[in-house]
């Protein structure tokens, strides 16, 4: 991705020429067209063979749309709810009510910060137990009012710290997994950025699991895997490859249901395009699920998770 810089420079040069072009007596249009063609082919070449590690970096890109951006742009009437009712209001995990295509839904989103200050408030998008318990409360509310749940996953993981561990972060995650496995409303999950391990899965169980093209979903970060398995922090690229954490690979493995396309270069290149793709996909899935009788919905979700896993069966000894 270091070549991305070249593209940026070329883009800037084209813009300069376009400015010049507006001036009287200047006609640079054919030069500009040539440069644009060049740019497009360079871009296509560059992004055509993104490595998995490239995608990890795109998934973590700080200009990528975050959960709240989606809440404001592809939903209407977003109404944030706060608090877990007993400890606090985790700013790394946002819940609320909203409308998708005019219809009422309940939403969950993991939210990173963009500024240092915001990241401090949001613990870099890593939820603590109060975040997962806030989501738990929303899930029950959704069930009470028969609201489909849409969960946007984007976290490096649950916050690893004394406060989290003292508050039984593991137990909080476990309770969510259990609840989501049997909730009597449709749940559509979309991994919009990083799907970091148990902290992502804790709001990532559902009837449909979608992933943005450059999102990742992994049992451990490539850095973590490199440190643990290779005892070598420099082998993260290799780890990223080995973990099969990209949308495309996970779709092939049958672990997710759909890849939502991103603009060339990543979601941060063109927010409106991403919003439109995600919106369309969510609407379609929610609609399909809403037409499924609840009993069948829950049974199908159960079967999906019950049958997840790959192993060899032996002839009995």
């Amino acid at each position: 991705m270091s070549d991305e810089r070249t593209l940026d420079l070329l883009e800037a040069k084209i813009r300069e020429l376009q400015e010049l072009n507006k001036m009287e007596g200047m006609d640079l249009s054919s030069e500009i067209t040539k440069l644009e063609t060049k740019l497009e082919s360079l871009r296509a070449a560059l992004y055509a063979d993104l490595s998995d590690w490239d995608r990890v970096k795109i998934a973590r890109h700080s200009k990528r749309p975050y959960a709240c951006d989606y809440f404001e742009r592809i939903f209407t009437d977003f109404y944030e709810l706060h608090g877990d009712r007993f400890v606090g209001d985790d700013r790394a995990l946002i819940i609320g009510l909203a409308r998708l295509d005019g219809k009422p839904v309940a939403v969950i989103g993991q939210q990173k910060g963009r500024t240092t200050e915001e990241n401090k408030e949001r613990f870099f998008g890593m939820p603590r137990p109060q975040g997962y318990r806030k989501a738990h409360r929303l899930l029950l509310l959704a069930e009470r009012f028969d609201l489909p749940v849409i969960s946007l996953v984007d976290t490096a993981g649950a916050y690893p710290g004394l406060e989290s561990e003292s508050g039984n972060i593991g137990g909080a995650i476990a309770e969510n997994l259990a609840l989501m496995s049997r909730l009597r409303v449709p749940i559509v999950v979309c991994i919009v950025g990083e799907g970091g391990s148990g902290g992502a899965l804790a709001v990532g169980v559902g009837d449909r699991i979608l992933m943005l093209e450059n999102a990742t979903f992994s049992v451990i970060s490539p850095e973590g895997a490199a440190a643990i398995l290779w005892k070598d922090k420099d082998r993260t690229r290799e780890a990223a490859e080995a973990l099969q954490l990209t949308a495309g690979k996970l779709l092939r493995l049958g672990l997710i249901d759909e890849v939502v396309p991103e603009p060339l270069g990543g979601a941060h290149k063109n927010w409106p395009e991403v919003f439109e793709s995600v919106r369309t996909s969510l609407v379609r899935h929610v609609e399909e699920l809403q037409n499924t009788p609840r009993e069948r919905l829950v049974e199908a979700r159960y079967a999906r998770y019950r049958n997840t896993g790959e192993f060899h069966t032996l002839a009995e000894a």
Partner: protein
């Protein structure tokens, strides 16, 4: 004690008891102790009380009624869906673990009796790739729960696991959701589930099925938590208290019902399952 009738791990147990020297040095007190006495003492140092690991077969032997063991594990072994290679290939790693432990995977599912009460039991073995949960461990736990539901007997899970099996990638992570889902069915059917957290119960196992017991018992000396000490220090730079993620820490913060000494675990479990044996879901 003839509780193990078949399977490879019997051979390993035999080899272990023949191969090894008569004495071992306790890693805690440094004393040279007579190995047979350690074995007979539930793998507890007779000098200082330090707990040594119990293998899954040893654990089962220490808990169940003599002669009541039937291995009902599903006949499955790990696949290699990611064709994963780190310092060695995943299939090689599995083979080494199988050879070393005599076990097909990191867990055994046993049908047995405790105090004459039938139970289904899942027992993890930390020697097998750190007791990590991949597709096989997840499947066996679910299978064990289903067998318990079918037999209307309690399900006891003895966890000893560092977390998810990295080499299986997302398949491993998904076992958290899978085991939690099956556990919910067990709850719906009012089948008692007693979760025993042994050293260590961490990561993906602690953050799923192990934390969902009707009763949660920690064996004394257990390590209980989600994120590892090193990850926490690298991320937050926090000073962690001396008792961090110990059994006492988990108890103090209300995660678990009881902390039990290894020598009392059998008795305690019998007490609990006897209680549940006398409950019975009424129709109304």
């Amino acid at each position: 004690m003839p509780i193990f009738k078949d399977r490879e791990y019997l051979r390993v147990e035999l080899e272990r008891s023949q191969d090894e020297s008569l004495w071992m040095q306790c890693k805690a007190c440094g004393e040279l102790v007579f190995k047979r006495r350690v074995r007979e003492n539930n793998n507890i140092c007779p000098n200082c009380g330090e707990y040594f690991f119990l293998t899954a077969p040893e654990r089962i032997e220490s808990l169940i009624d003599e002669g009541s063991f039937v291995d009902i594990s599903k006949p499955i072994v790990a696949g290699d869906p990611l064709a994963f290679i780190d310092s060695k290939s995943y299939p090689e790693r599995i083979e080494v673990a199988q050879e070393r432990t005599g076990l097909p995977s990191a867990i055994l599912i046993a049908e047995a009796k405790m105090g004459e009460i039938p139970v289904v039991m899942g027992v993890m073995d930390f020697r097998f790739v750190g007791g990590s949960m991949g597709s096989v461990v997840g499947e066996q736990i679910c299978y064990g729960m289903e067998q318990a539901a079918e037999r209307k007997t309690p399900f006891i899970l003895i966890s000893s696991s560092g977390g998810a099996r990295i080499q299986e990638g997302m398949y491993a992570l998904m076992q958290m959701a899978k085991t939690a889902a099956v556990r919910e069915r067990l709850a719906r059917d009012a089948v008692p589930f007693i979760s025993v957290m042994a050293y260590p119960t961490t990561g993906g196992v602690q953050a799923s099925v192990a934390s969902l017991g009707d009763i949660i018992i920690a064996e004394r000396g257990a390590l209980i938590g989600f994120a590892g000490r090193r990850v926490i220090r690298d991320t937050t730079g926090e000073d962690l208290p001396a008792n961090f993620q110990t059994d006492a820490f988990a108890f103090q913060h209300g995660f678990i019902d009881r902390v039990v000494n290894r020598e009392n675990l059998r008795e305690e479990l019998i007490h609990v399952i006897r209680f549940f044996q006398s409950t019975e879901k009424r129709e109304s």
